[in-house]
Amino acid sequence: MSTVTDAPGAARKFHRVCEILDHHQRQPSRLIPILQAVQEEYRYLPEEVLTFVATALGLSPARVFGVATFYAHFALKPKGKHIVRLCDGTACHVKQSIPILEAIRRRLGLEGTATTTADMLFTVETVSCLGACGLAPVVVIDDKVHGQMTPETAVALVEKIIADEEGRQA
C-alpha cells in the first residue's frame, strides 16, 4: 500500500490534485494531462491518488491504471531524490552506454531489477533517445545533460552528489 511520506505537505498536495481536476473540468478525455500534473506534485502516481482521480473522472480505476502503466513517463513507485537517466538509444548504445549503466548501478548497489536505491536517494533509468546523439554517450542527472560520458566520469558525477548529500546532513 503506497502512502504519502511527505506528511506536512500532504494536505497541500491533495488540494492541489483537486485543483488540477477542477482546472481540467473533471473531463475524462483530459486524463493524461491530469496524470502529468499530478505526477509533478507527487513525483510519482500513488495508488490512492489514481483511484481518487478515476472516481472524480467517472472512469474505472483499471482504465486509469492501464493508461498510467502504458506510458514510461508515469511512475507508480516513488522515485529517488535524484534521477539518473542514461541514454541507450542507438548512438549511445554503440558508444558503450551499457558499461556506464553497469558502473553506476554497481556504485549505487542496485541489484536485479531494482531502479531506486534503498535510501531513496537515486533512481537510475534508461531512455531510448534524448536527441543529443552528437554527445553520445549521454547521461542526464536531474535534468542536466552530461555528454561523452565514460563509466569513470559518470560514477564521479554520482559520487559528487553523494558527497554533497552527506555534507548537507553533517
Binding site: M1, T3, V4, A7, P8, A10, A11, F14, H15, C18, P46, E47, E48, V49, L50, T51, F52, A54, T55, A56, L59, S60, P61, A62, R63, V64, F65, G66, T69, F70, Y71
Partner: protein, 669 residues
C-alpha cells in the same frame, strides 16, 4: 452485377447494411476465424485472423473494413492462410498449453482454430513468465497464463456491463489484462456476472468449479442433498449433449441427478412463484402508499452488487425480495429438516444455476445463519453437464423423471423468470388479477417481450397505466438508474438482468457456437410456460400451502424474515485512503473523510479542506492522521467521516472537530 454487392471468392455477395466486410463474408457462409470479433462489442481488430485480400488494397482485416460495392475479396489465398497460421502459432508459443486439464478444453477457440487452420508445430520458444492464478472470488478464476490479449473480456465488462473491472495494463511484451493495480478480482468492482468468461476464447477466465464439494456431499451418507434447478438451465443443458438450444430437458436432468445421488430435486421456479407474489405485493404497496418509485427487481445478484457499488442512494428502490435461489434455500432449510427427518446441519442445498454471480450470492452474509448457508453450493449449467459426463450417464437416453413435490411444482410464470422480460410479465400476471379481481383471459403480455437491451412498455392495470422498463446489460441499467437519480424517471417498475437476454445468456450456460442460442433458449422457456397448466403464480396451490403451513401471510412478518433481505452500500475498490495530514507513526487519532462519489456530491471535499484548516489552526497536525478514503458504505447518509472508531454520518466540520477533541482528551493506554 448490381451496385449493392461485392465478390467473395468469385461469387457475388449482397450488401444489406452490414457494418463490415466480415459480416458480409459470414453471411455468404464462410466462417472466417476470429478471436476478437463479437457483433455486440466494438470492433477491435487485434487478432488478425479475419484477414482477407481485397483487389487493389492488399490484405486487410475484414472486421474493420466497411463493405463497398464492387469490391473483389479473396478469403483463402496462400498468403492469407499463412498469416493466419502464423498468428495462431505465435499465440500458442506463449500460451500455457495445459489443454487436457483445462476446463475450457472442449470449447477452447484457440485449440479449435489451431486444429482448423492446420497448425501442427509451434516453432517459437515461449517468452512469458508464469503468473499466479487469481482464485479469490467465489465465481471466477483468472489464469493470466492462458490470455491471448484479444480484449473481448475488457470490452464486454466496459461496453455491455459498464463496470470496467479489468483492463489492459502495461505495454508491449509486458501487456496483460488485469484488475486495477494488479489487485485480485475480489478487491475491485467486479460484479461476478462472468460475461468476461462467457466471451473469453480460451481458459484465461473461467467460472469457478464447485464440483468437488458437491461430490463430497453426495458421497457423505449422513448428508441429505437436495437440489434446485433454475429455469434457464432446462433450455440449455441439452446443448452439452448435442441437443439444440431451447430444447427442454427437465425430465432427463432430474433422472441424471437422481442417478448421481441427489435425494430430492426441486425447481427454482417454485421459489420464483413465491418471488412473484412477494414482489408484486411489495409493488402494489408502493403504488398504493406512494413509496419509492420505480421499483427495481432484485433477482439478479450481479445487478444487486452493481447497485450497491454505484447507486447506494437508490437501494431503497430495489425490491427487498430475495432472489428465487435464496428464497428456495431459506424455505428448504426452514421446512425440510422436519419433512425429510434430517438435522439442519446435515441438509445440503445445491443450486443448479446459469449464473456465476449466484455463487457469490450464496456466500453473502445475509444468507448465512449460524455458520450454515441457505444455499450450500451453486453449480453452473456447465458444471452439472460435466458431472453428468463424469458419471457416464447417457443423458439423451435417460427416461425422464419428475421433480419432487412440493418445491418442484411451478406455474409458467415461474419458468419465464429465466429470460429478459419474464419477471415483469410474471408480476403483471399477478398484479392484473389482484387489482381487477377477475381472472386473466390471456396471460401473455407480448408488450414486455423482446430482445433489445432496453425496452419500454405501458400496461393498464385496473384504472392505472403502468410504465415499465425491461433492461439487460448493466450499462443499460446504469442509464435508467441515472435517470432515477436525476429525478427524470417516469417508470413504475424496472426489471434488470445483468446478462444479455437475461439468465438464459448467463455465464454459467454451455458455451454455444450457435449465434441464435439466446433467442432459441428464450423461445424454449415461453414454450415451456405454454405447456404447463398454470400460468400465474397465485394459482400455484403448493406455494399457497407453503404460506399457510410455514410462512404466514404474504408480505407478513415471517415471510419477511425468510424471503426478504436488505442491501448496503459497498466500496468499489480496496485501499487505505490518501493521507492528507499527520504522520501515521506519531498520530494518536485517525480521521477519515469519504471522498467517494456520493459523499463528494454532498460536499465532502470542502468539508475535508475546512477540516484540515481547522486542524492546522488548532495546532493538531502532529496528533491527527487525516485521510481521504473512498467508501464507508453509508453513501446515502454522507458525507461520512470516521474519527477513531466513531462513524459520523451527515458530518459537518463542527461535528468532526468536536468528536476529535473528545477523543484526544481521552487518556490513551
Amino acid at each position: 452485377m448490381t451496385t449493392r454487392s461485392l465478390t467473395v471468392d468469385g461469387r457475388e455477395a449482397p450488401i444489406n447494411g452490414e457494418r463490415n466486410l466480415l459480416e458480409v463474408i459470414r453471411k455468404a457462409n464462410i466462417d472466417l476465424p476470429t478471436f476478437c470479433y463479437h457483433s455486440e462489442l466494438s470492433v477491435y481488430g487485434a487478432c488478425r485472423l479475419c484477414l482477407v485480400q481485397v483487389e487493389g488494397r492488399g490484405i486487410v482485416a475484414s472486421c474493420s473494413t466497411p463493405p463497398e460495392p464492387g469490391m473483389v475479396v479473396y478469403t483463402q489465398t496462400e498468403e492469407v492462410r499463412e498469416i493466419r497460421r502464423i498468428a495462431v502459432e505465435l499465440l500458442l508459443a506463449n500460451h500455457e498449453s495445459s489443454c487436457p486439464t483445462c476446463s475450457k478444453s472442449a470449447t477452447c477457440q484457440l485449440q479449435n482454430l489451431a486444429r482448423r487452420l492446420g497448425v501442427e508445430k509451434v516453432r517459437f520458444k515461449p517468452t512469458h513468465r508464469p503468473q499466479p492464478l487469481d482464485r479469490t472470488t467465489p465465481s471466477l478464476v483468472r489464469d493470466p497464463n492462458k490470455c491471448i490479449l484479444c480484449g473481448d473480456c475488457v470490452r464486454m465488462c466496459h461496453e455491455v456491463q459498464g463496470v470496467g473491472a479489468i483492463d489492459f495494463a502495461y505495454r508491449g511484451a509486458a501487456v496483460s489484462v488485469q484488475p486495477a493495480f494488479g489487485k485480485d478480482l475480489n478487491k475491485v468492482e467486479c460484479v461476478y456476472c462472468g460475461q468476461c468468461a462467457a466471451v473469453c476464447p480460451t481458459g484465461a477466465l473461467t467460472p469457478r468449479s464447485d464440483i468437488a464439494d458437491v461430490w463430497k456431499a453426495l458421497d457423505d451418507k449422513d448428508t441429505v442433498v437436495v437440489a434446485q434447478i433454475a429455469p434457464a438451465v432446462r433450455v440449455a443443458l441439452g446443448e452439452m449433449f448435442g441437443l439444440a438450444p431451447g430444447e427442454v430437458t427437465t425430465g432427463q436432468m432430474v433422472a441424471a441427478m437422481k442417478g448421481m445421488g441427489f435425494d430430492q430435486v426441486y425447481d427454482t421456479s417454485f421459489a420464483a412463484d413465491m418471488t412473484v407474489v412477494e414482489e408484486a405485493t411489495e409493488f402494489l404497496r408502493r403504488v398504493g402508499s406512494g413509496g419509492k418509485m420505480p421499483q427495481f427487481t432484485s433477482c439478479c445478484p450481479a445487478w444487486v452488487k452493481f447497485a450497491e457499488q454505484y447507486f447506494p442512494d437508490l437501494l431503497g428502490h430495489l425490491s427487498s425480495c430475495r432472489s428465487p435461489q435464496q428464497m428456495l434455500g431459506s424455505v428448504a432449510k426452514e421446512t425440510l429438516p422436519l419433512r425429510l427427518n434430517v438435522e439442519r446441519r446435515n441438509l445440503c442445498v445445491v443450486s443448479i444455476m446459469p449464473c456465476t454471480a449466484k455463487k457469490f450470492e450464496a456466500t453473502r452474509p445475509e444468507f448465512v445463519h449460524d455458520g450454515i448457508r441457505d444455499v450450500d453450493f451453486v453449480l453452473t449449467t456447465q458444471e452439472l453437464g460435466r458431472m453428468i459426463e463424469e458419471s457416464g450417464l447417457r443423458f439423451r437416453d435417460l427416461p425422464p423423471e419428475s421433480l419432487d413435490l412440493p418445491m418442484g411444482f411451478k406455474s409458467g410464470a415461474g419458468v419465464i423468470f429465466g429470460n429478459s422480460g419474464g419477471v415483469t410479465e410474471a408480476v403483471l400476471r399477478y398484479a392484473c388479477e389482484k387489482v381487477s379481481g377477475t381472472k386473466l383471459t390471456a396471460p401473455d403480455f407480448h408488450a414486455v417481450r423482446g430482445h433489445k437491451g432496453l425496452r419500454e412498455a405501458t400496461v393498464t392495470v385496473g384504472d392505472r397505466t403502468l410504465r415499465l422498463a425491461i433492461v439487460h446489460g448493466l450499462k443499460n441499467a446504469r442509464l435508467v438508474a441515472e435517470q432515477v437519480r436525476a429525478g427524470r424517471c417516469e417508470y413504475d417498475l424496472v426489471e434488470v438482468m445483468a446478462c444479455p437476454g437475461g439468465c438464459i445468456g448467463g455465464a454459467g450456460q454451455p458455451v454455444s457456437g450457435n449465434i441464435d442460442a439466446r433467442r432459441l433458449r428464450t423461445q424454449g422457456l415461453y414454450e415451456a410456460d405454454k405447456a404447463l397448466q398454470l400460468h400465474t403464480s397465485q394459482d400455484n396451490h403448493l406455494v399457497a400451502e407453503c404460506y399457510a403451513k410455514h410462512l404466514g401471510e404474504i408480505g407478513g412478518e415471517k415471510a419477511h424474515r425468510l424471503l426478504h433481505t436488505h442491501y448496503h452500500g459497498r466500496r468499489r475498490i480496496d485501499g487505505d485512503g490518501l493521507r492528507v495530514t499527520g504522520d501515521a507513526t506519531g498520530a494518536k487519532l485517525r480521521v477519515s473523510v469519504c471522498v467517494g462519489t456520493s459523499c463528494y456530491v454532498r460536499g465532502s471535499q470542502t468539508l475535508l479542506h475546512r477540516l484540515v484548516q481547522e486542524i492546522e489552526r488548532r495546532g493538531l497536525r502532529e496528533q491527527v492522521d487525516v485521510r481521504a478514503t473512498f467508501c464507508f458504505e453509508r453513501c446515502d447518509r454522507g458525507p461520512t467521516v470516521t474519527v477513531g472508531d466513531t462513524v459520523i454520518e451527515r458530518c459537518t466540520v463542527e461535528a468532526a472537530i468536536e468528536a476529535m477533541e473528545r477523543k484526544l482528551a481521552q487518556p490513551t493506554g
